[in-house]
Subunit: 397 residues, 3 copies
Amino acid sequence: MKSAKQWILTDRTENIQKEKIELNARQLGAPKCRKLSVTKTTLRGGLSEGVEVVEINNGALSISVIPTRGMGIWKGSYRGIFLGWRSPVEGPVHPAFVHQNERGGLGWLYGFDECIVRCGLESNGAPGRDVVPNNMGEPTEMELTLHGRIANIPASRVTVEASGGAKPIVSVSGIVEETMLFGPRFRLSARISTAPGANWFRIEDEVSNLRAVESEMELLYHCNFGGPVLEEGARLVLPAVETAPRSAYRAEDVETWAVYRGPTPGFVEQCFWHVLRGDANGGTMALLRNAAGDLGVCIRFNLSELPCFTQWKNTAAEEDGYVTGLEPGTNYPNTRAFERKQGRVPRLAPGSSRRASLTVEVLDSARLVKAAEDEIEKLRGGTAHTLHRAPDPRFSA
Amino acid sequence: MKSAKQWILTDRTENIQKEKIELNARQLGAPKCRKLSVTKTTLRGGLSEGVEVVEINNGALSISVIPTRGMGIWKGSYRGIFLGWRSPVEGPVHPAFVHQNERGGLGWLYGFDECIVRCGLESNGAPGRDVVPNNMGEPTEMELTLHGRIANIPASRVTVEASGGAKPIVSVSGIVEETMLFGPRFRLSARISTAPGANWFRIEDEVSNLRAVESEMELLYHCNFGGPVLEEGARLVLPAVETAPRSAYRAEDVETWAVYRGPTPGFVEQCFWHVLRGDANGGTMALLRNAAGDLGVCIRFNLSELPCFTQWKNTAAEEDGYVTGLEPGTNYPNTRAFERKQGRVPRLAPGSSRRASLTVEVLDSARLVKAAEDEIEKLRGGTAHTLHRAPDPRFSA
Amino acid sequence: MKSAKQWILTDRTENIQKEKIELNARQLGAPKCRKLSVTKTTLRGGLSEGVEVVEINNGALSISVIPTRGMGIWKGSYRGIFLGWRSPVEGPVHPAFVHQNERGGLGWLYGFDECIVRCGLESNGAPGRDVVPNNMGEPTEMELTLHGRIANIPASRVTVEASGGAKPIVSVSGIVEETMLFGPRFRLSARISTAPGANWFRIEDEVSNLRAVESEMELLYHCNFGGPVLEEGARLVLPAVETAPRSAYRAEDVETWAVYRGPTPGFVEQCFWHVLRGDANGGTMALLRNAAGDLGVCIRFNLSELPCFTQWKNTAAEEDGYVTGLEPGTNYPNTRAFERKQGRVPRLAPGSSRRASLTVEVLDSARLVKAAEDEIEKLRGGTAHTLHRAPDPRFSA
């Protein structure tokens, strides 16, 4: 997309960091969509001190992007429907307060409250020991922490673009650098866009390996939804051809993997690994729908970019974070050591890039939900679904 | 207390963070106490960059509260008498620079220079391994760090209140949230108050378990004093019925637990565990008095809230932090695993709260010191005092 | 040097932190050197948010000092010649984002992009376990992290001085405090100076042990240069009397220790330990020169202050940080435990100080490079050079 207009919010090399910005429809080139706006604020107080938030409001849908937290999407709403979840963490939390290697590598959870958070890029998934060559070429043990660093790195460049035309595509773009000496050197170029009045927003990412040596990379989109879509009887609809539980669950829990409980105090999280089917181009989708089937969130992505899909069922009490995670990824969120053995850790050649994109649609009628279900059924194309009753060694460590 | 007036200094949800505020006696509703004031400043430079300090000056006593460090009390003074200690750490240190799990979990000491600092809320005391159920319900080892997280979490809401009337109660209140997913979710509501011309200030805290599941909680007030109260021959006066050394000390050191050395280069810290007696309502007190008995600091608290009392003798050289800690707590500052075995880790039911309060009085005459000693003698009520010569397994791991 | 003029940029105790300052030649007392200036900026955006940079430009040479990162020298230039290196880390990185004990204690590498960075003060060198007495006097294991804390501590006082006179010495001074309770309490007083039109800058440091007990201290200057000085065929010229490889390298790599490769993708770093000879006062020097011998950087220091010299050859690809480190230190950057055994960890008596200084000269002609080579030859004075073919137990753990 060629941008007709661009605004710079942050540029580390130019020493720019705008505390506030407000762009209205006229400025964005769409005077007829009165409610179109892009607003940047810098949060103040407590653990949010200094966190930048950029909100795009297309008149129907609004989403809040957090440059300070690696261009994650904090939350959104569509015609009054809340998108996201109510985490016990009242964030967004500034990365300076997130100590990832505390609590046995689970410190990432100090800052986790986003609707969509990227996990990676060096690694994602469960914390655990891995052996990699160090700067002296010797195999060295290293403790990788939960879900990697990218969500706790502030973007070094943030811009807003409007494509021009009567219905401009409006986007927020950011560059996030995950680098160190003797370690990964990745550049994430993230773009989050929507159009006036649309029921969707799109994430288009490119991860570049800036090193002169090949590098492993993992990327997973942790897309998290609580109510109103998630509720007792809500269902996950997938073009799945294979599904396995992460751990040994009760038979009825495995069989009802697609169905959600209501908020359940003391509920212990469950995860399911899925293999999805896509169309000829790899296009696929996942649908989370409410019990009545008149509200849903649909995520579209491509299996050539994100071949693995993980479902996280955390139907604990509201106070403890009632949520489900829909997680398209380059891998399943096991330890990197396990994923490597399964051949699921992509390697990026020197100077090369890998793209991933994701479109989230809000479906606010039975008709739209049904259409998505039909589309998923068509994607599956009558293929049998293998449901493993017990953890499968290809998926679970 | 109903507040006649309130000023908001910080509110994360309203995006308020006032860099500066100055309230005078007139504004606080007490025009006749000319010197009454509340002042907020934001510190600049070095490790203190961005640290908020709220000073209440009642005309005779002033105390500095640090919202950025969990509403701790940095230091104070009463009619020229310094309250606090001269830590080797020249703080207050912004939490972004405190890495608690460095140095085997002792990183909390990078930021420790307060007169009163809360230790907790998930745990306090010595760093150490504990086994707790993880998010998958499986027992998991976790390394707990020294004295927990609460002192390194910035308050998300800070207000000043004045109760009205000729001698208004003036207070600073703050909300500090210690939360994460799959871990504790506590809200500390702290209030620090004093009255015009008073020789006291009061801490009134409420800790709420916001989870839908029962949670362990530990809270300890690390109240630290150096000179002028602490000096060679200073004494700790307690209504103690039982006292035990933490480690094996020389017999004379155990016998003189109540008496302090002067600054002693190379002195190795000593701790004593005390069981105190209170009045019918649980009210009790501890008095630190100087050698001459004409200066003292008295801490009043309630054994139903804070049943354990620890004395920390760190009479090292001035340069190394000549100080004693008087530490009323829900528990003794051992590892949580040990305290749990001894039945001293409170459990908070879902949604429930626990209160604790503490009043610190400065006694600047022999008369006042004598009155406090008499009161303590009365509290003890002639009960025998058991002094253990060696560490006791009920108190020391 | 007596300062004729002084400007305070930062003072924690006075609550001063100037976001910006610009001093011109007239203000600095040298109206005839039109291009003399000192400029302070505060960086904005990404990982650099809030980092202070003070640039001294003497008309020919400019250097950027980073108070926020322990008064390190980020980069410089002399008549268009770049001084420093192109680290994969695009910094300078604010210490709040550097988690030193991640990745097995290598987290320091998240922020490493300086031309000159101090390593220390409690320890420097490789991360590793050490046993030291804890606050209870008991030997305790502690994991020390790579290169210590000093580079990630913001200066608490920063001033600019100009000595007066037609060719004033212009300097930036800073105080950096590395302190904690029950641990080190060091004060680094750093001064970086130059003169109008000079081809040199000087670092004059004093490290004081503020404790009342003796303390171990380690200090190393990690001086890092990439192109244009470093290139294929560049050489390190040293008055070395003994040289040993850190690890087992190929014979040809050991023999060509003094010669540099061009950027080599996948190159694994090599280190050499050197014992240098100095003049009667201990004065010595190291020269890095380009292949043609018409460009060089010379570092002068004193063996009584910095007896050990380490050469770090990291001729990886440009993208991975093509660089060599010239590292005068109180010790070699092995683990502190190893250096202690070798008697190379200085001990500072209570209240005492240790000084170190370093002068960096840029030599931009064959004549100047030749003069430096001759001076080094003279320093060596015909002494034989022992080149160890294999790691030597006095130098390598």
